[in-house]
C-alpha cells in the first residue's frame, strides 16, 4: 500500500468529491446513480441485499424524493488492496415530507480496471441508525 502523503491527499480529495457527487445525484438526479456502480457491486440497504446496479436502481427509483444531509465522513485506504478506498458517512435523510432519519453508510470504492482512471462503488452498506 502506498503510504506517501501525496497519495493520502489524492484519496482524501477523491473521497470528498465522491461524497459530494454521490448524494447530489441521489437527491436530484437519481436516474444517473448507476454511473457509480457496476453489475458486480454488492449493495445492502437496511438489511436488503442487491447484487448489481440493475436491481438496485429499480429499487432506488421507487424511493420517495430524498434529501441527504451529511454530518460526518472520513476515508481510509484499504489495506491489502490495490488503491481501494473505504468511505464512511454519517448523516440524515429526509424522504418526501417525512421527518429526518439518521443513517450510516459505508462504501468500498475500487478502481475500475475496465475504465482506466475511474473508480466505482464495489460495496455499499446503508443503515438507518
Amino acid at each position: 500500500m502506498e503510504q506517501s502523503s501525496v497519495y493520502s491527499n489524492v484519496i482524501n480529495s477523491g473521497a470528498t468529491a465522491f461524497v459530494d457527487q454521490y448524494y447530489k445525484i441521489y437527491d436530484t438526479n437519481r436516474g444517473y446513480i448507476d454511473g457509480f456502480y457496476k453489475e458486480n457491486s454488492a449493495i445492502l440497504w437496511n438489511g436488503n441485499p442487491f447484487s448489481g446496479i440493475t436491481q438496485f436502481k429499480d429499487f432506488l427509483l421507487k424511493l420517495p424524493v430524498t434529501t441527504h444531509t451529511i454530518q460526518t465522513y472520513d476515508c481510509q485506504p484499504v489495506l491489502g488492496s490495490e488503491k481501494s478506498i473505504m468511505v464512511n458517512v454519517n448523516g440524515e435523510v429526509k424522504y418526501s415530507d417525512q421527518s429526518s432519519k439518521q443513517f450510516h453508510q459505508n462504501f468500498i470504492l475500487m478502481p475500475d480496471l475496465e475504465k482506466q482512471g475511474t473508480y466505482y462503488v464495489a460495496h455499499d452498506c446503508f443503515r438507518f441508525i
Partner: protein, 669 residues
C-alpha cells in the same frame, strides 16, 4: 480461513431478491365504479326529479314561512358564530350577571341550589340565592351561559313539585324556558336539521336551502356558509358525528359564492361520493377550488348546474368541454359532472413513488452472507468488544502491523431527540475526531492512526466503555466477504449500536466498519491465537440514538447468536475477576506522593460531577480525598470507590494494586 466463497453474497442475493422483487409496487384496489351500487345512483337524478314528495312540501313550507318568526330573542347573544364563534371580549367584561327566577319551589333554597348544580350538564355558578316569596327563589348567576343552563333544567322535580325557571333580563324582560327552547343554540338546531334532512336508505343528506329551514326559526340568515368558514367546519363536524356513513350531500340553493367554508369537507367525510352545488352563485373555478378536489379520493359525481360559471363557459366556448377538463384536473377521481361523463384522465405512472410516504422495502435485521462469515464475525465481535471494554491493550496483536484506525465524532443529536434536547456531552471523545466536514486538510493525515502500536495507544486514550453484547436488540451487524485483490479476501463488517460511556454514565451510539483478514501463519495474531487480523477500523461515535431503527426489523435468514453466547460465557466466568480499572498500557508508573491541590476550575468541575452522579456530601468528600492522595481524577476516584463499595481504605489499596495500568489522563497533572 474464510475459504474463497466470495460469490456467496450474490447467491444469497438472488434468493432474497426474487422475493422482494415479486412484491412490486402496491397493488391498486378493484375499481369502485364498476357495477352499480345503491350509492352510485346519480344525485342529479335524485335532485332533478325529486321522488320525495315530502321534501318538496317541506321546501314549500320553508318558502311559505319566510319571515314568519318575529325576532324576540337577542340575536347577538344567541349567535355563536358572530366574531368567529368566540365570545366578544368587550361583552365579556361587561357585568353580565343574570337573574333567574325559580317558581314553585317548596323546600330549602340551599337544597334546590345543590340539586340544580348536580343535575346540570354544564357547570352553574350561583352567586346569590334569594327567596322572593314562599315559592319563588331568585338566583343570580355569573352570566348568560349559566342562566341558560338553569333554564334548561326547567321542569325539574324538587320535593315532588315541578320547578320552572325564567330569566329576568334587564333588557329583554322575562325569558321563559319555552322561549329559550326555541333558541337553545344554532348548533343544536343545525344538528337537528342534518338529521331531519338525511335519508338513511340512500345515504343522502339534502342541505338544500338550509338557511331557511323552519327549525332554525328566526335564526335563518345566521347559517350563511358564505359568511363564516367556521360554520362550514361546524357543519362538517356535525355531519361526521351524526351521519358518518353519508355518501351524497346536496348544498343546492344556498346562494354560495365560493366553497371556502367547505375546504375541510374532504377530511371530515373522505367517503363522500356525490356532491351537489346546484343553483348557487359560483362564478369562476376559483370559487370551486377551495373544496380541495384533489384530496377527495372517492368523489365520483359533482353538480354545479345553474351556477353563473356554466353560463360564462357556454358564452365563451359554446360548450362545456373546457370546463370538464379543468374540473377533471381539479377533481381527479371525478367521473360525472352535471350528468355528463368525464373523459378518463390521461395519467402517467410517474411520481407516485416520489411522493409516496412509505419506503418500498421493509427494514431487515443483520445481514450475513454465509454461515462461515457468521461464525467468524460472531467470534470476533464478542472477543473484540469484551477486550475493548475491559483491557484494550489486549487488542494489540489483533491489529495488523500496518492497520489503520480513524474516528469521527458526529455531534448532531438524533432528530427524534431534538424536540427536547439541544446537544449531548461528546467532549471526552473529540480529541481524535477526523470528520472531513470539520477537520482541516493538514490535520487529516495525523488523525489517520497507522500501525498497531499507535492504534492501541489511541484506543487507550478513549473514554472507557461498556458495550451491551448480551442484548441483541442493541446492535445491528451487516457483514459479507469481499475480494480486494485476486489474492486477498476480507470480511467487510459494519456494526451499529450503543455503548455506555462509563465515565459520564451516558449511553452513546456508534457505527463502526472493520475490514478483517485471516491471520497469516507465524504472524503475531496467529501466535496469540487470533484467527483473524484487523486491517481497517473506522468508527463514528455520536449521541445516543436508541435502536428503534432496527430492533423490530424482520429477520434475515442467517442470524447471530451473540447475546446467548455472551450470556453463557458470563455464567462460566463468574469466578473470574473483573478488573476494577479498565487496564490499558503501562505508561505512567511514577505516582507522586504529595497530596494534590485542586485548582478552582477543577473544584468547580468536581461540583458538577457531584451533582451529575447524585453524590451526597460525605461521598463527595471521600472522592476528593482519594483524588488528593492518589492524584487520580475525580471520576477515576469515584469509579474506584464505587468498585470498593465506598470503603475508603479498600479503594486506596485496590488502587495501589492496579495503579500501573491507569492511563496518564486518569490523573490530575
Amino acid at each position: 480461513m474464510f475459504g474463497n466463497n466470495n460469490a456467496s453474497l450474490l447467491q444469497e442475493n438472488d434468493s432474497v431478491m426474487t422475493d422482494a422483487s415479486k412484491k412490486g409496487p402496491r397493488g391498486r384496489g378493484p375499481n369502485k365504479f364498476n357495477g352499480k351500487s345503491s350509492n352510485s345512483k346519480s344525485i342529479s337524478e335524485r335532485l332533478g326529479n325529486s321522488k320525495n314528495p315530502s321534501l318538496k312540501n317541506h321546501l314549500k313550507r320553508i318558502k311559505d314561512r319566510k319571515g314568519e318568526f318575529p325576532g324576540r330573542i337577542d340575536k347577538n347573544r344567541l349567535n355563536p358564530y358572530k366574531s368567529n364563534g368566540r365570545p366578544n371580549l368587550k361583552d365579556f367584561h361587561k357585568s353580565t350577571h343574570e337573574k333567574v327566577i325559580a317558581s314553585n319551589v317548596v323546600g330549602k333554597t340551599q337544597d334546590l341550589e345543590r340539586l340544580v348544580k348536580q343535575k346540570s350538564k354544564k357547570p352553574i355558578k350561583i352567586l346569590k340565592a334569594e327567596r322572593k316569596s314562599e315559592s319563588v327563589v331568585c338566583f343570580t348567576v355569573e352570566h348568560m351561559g349559566h342562566a341558560n343552563a338553569l333554564l334548561n333544567l326547567s321542569g325539574i322535580k324538587f320535593n315532588g313539585n315541578t320547578v320552572t325557571f325564567a330569566i329576568h333580563n334587564r333588557k329583554h324582560g322575562i325569558t321563559t324556558a319555552n322561549d329559550y327552547k326555541n333558541s337553545i343554540s344554532v348548533i343544536e338546531n343545525l344538528k337537528q336539521v342534518i338529521i331531519n334532512h338525511y335519508d338513511i336508505d340512500t345515504q343522502y343528506l339534502n342541505l338544500s336551502n338550509i338557511n331557511n329551514d323552519p327549525l332554525l326559526g328566526d335564526k335563518k340568515g345566521l347559517v350563511d356558509l358564505n359568511k363564516s368558514e367556521k360554520l362550514g367546519q361546524v357543519l362538517c363536524k356535525l355531519i361526521k358525528e351524526n351521519i358518518p356513513q353519508v355518501k351524497t350531500i346536496s348544498f343546492a340553493n344556498n346562494n354560495l359564492r365560493n366553497l371556502k367554508s367547505l375546504s375541510k369537507l374532504h377530511a371530515w367525510l373522505p367517503n363522500v361520493m356525490n356532491l351537489s352545488f346546484q343553483n348557487n352563485n359560483l362564478v369562476t373555478l376559483k370559487d370551486i377550488e377551495p373544496l380541495n378536489g384533489d384530496k377527495f379520493t372517492n368523489l365520483r359525481e359533482l353538480v354545479i348546474a345553474d351556477n353563473p360559471i356554466k353560463e360564462k363557459e357556454l358564452q365563451k366556448y359554446g360548450n362545456f368541454e373546457n370546463l370538464k377538463g379543468k374540473i377533471k384536473s381539479m377533481f381527479p377521481s371525478l367521473l360525472i359532472l352535471d350528468q355528463e361523463e368525464l373523459p378518463e384522465g390521461i395519467s402517467f405512472d410517474v411520481g407516485k413513488d416520489l411522493n409516496s410516504k412509505s419506503l418500498p422495502l421493509q427494514i431487515k435485521s443483520s445481514f450475513i452472507d454465509s454461515e462461515v462469515t457468521a461464525s467468524t464475525v460472531q467470534d470476533f465481535i464478542i472477543k473484540y468488544f469484551t477486550l475493548f471494554d475491559t483491557n484494550r491493550v489486549g487488542l494489540l496483536d489483533l491489529y495488523d502491523d500496518n492497520a489503520l484506525f480513524s474516528l469521527s465524532i458526529n455531534f448532531n443529536i438524533p432528530p427524534w431527540r431534538r424536540r427536547h434536547e439541544k446537544s449531548d456531552n461528546m467532549s471526552n471523545w473529540k480529541a481524535f475526531d477526523r470528520n472531513f466536514k470539520t477537520t482541516r486538510q493538514s490535520n487529516r493525515d495525523n488523525l489517520l492512526i497507522k500501525g498497531k502500536n499507535s492504534i492501541i495507544q489511541t484506543l487507550a486514550k478513549l473514554p472507557y466503555t461498556k458495550h451491551p453484547l448480551e442484548d441483541d436488540s442493541k446492535f445491528i451487524i451487516d457483514t459479507w466477504q469481499i475480494n480486494v485483490s485476486p489474492q486477498q479476501v476480507l470480511i467487510y463488517l459494519n456494526i451499529s449500536g450503543e455503548f455506555n460511556d462509563v465515565e459520564i454514565k451516558l449511553n452513546k451510539s456508534f457505527s463502526r466498519t472493520f475490514l478483517i483478514a485471516p491471520s497469516q501463519p507465524q504472524s503475531n495474531a496467529a501466535k496469540a491465537g487470533w484467527a483473524y487480523t484487523i486491517f481497517n477500523d473506522q468508527v463514528t461515535v455520536r449521541p445516543w440514538s436508541g435502536n428503534k431503527s432496527f430492533d423490530k426489523a424482520e429477520k434475515n435468514p442467517i442470524q447471530f447468536q451473540i447475546s446467548n453466547t455472551v450470556k453463557s460465557l458470563n455464567n462460566n466466568n463468574n469466578n473470574a475477576t473483573t478488573n476494577v480499572f479498565n487496564p490499558t498500557i503501562q505508561l505512567n508508573t511514577n505516582i507522586p506522593n504529595a497530596p494534590y491541590n485542586f485548582t478552582p476550575e477543577q473544584l468547580q468541575e468536581q461540583e458538577q460531577f457531584r451533582i451529575q452522579h447524585g453524590l451526597n456530601e460525605m461521598q463527595h468528600k471521600q472522592v476528593q480525598e482519594l483524588s488528593r492522595q492518589t492524584h487520580l481524577t475525580y471520576l477515576y476516584s469515584l469509579q474506584c470507590l464505587n468498585d470498593f463499595s465506598w470503603n475508603f481504605d479498600s479503594a486506596l489499596e485496590g488502587y495501589q494494586r492496579v495503579k500501573d495500568q491507569v492511563p496518564p489522563d486518569g490523573y490530575y497533572h
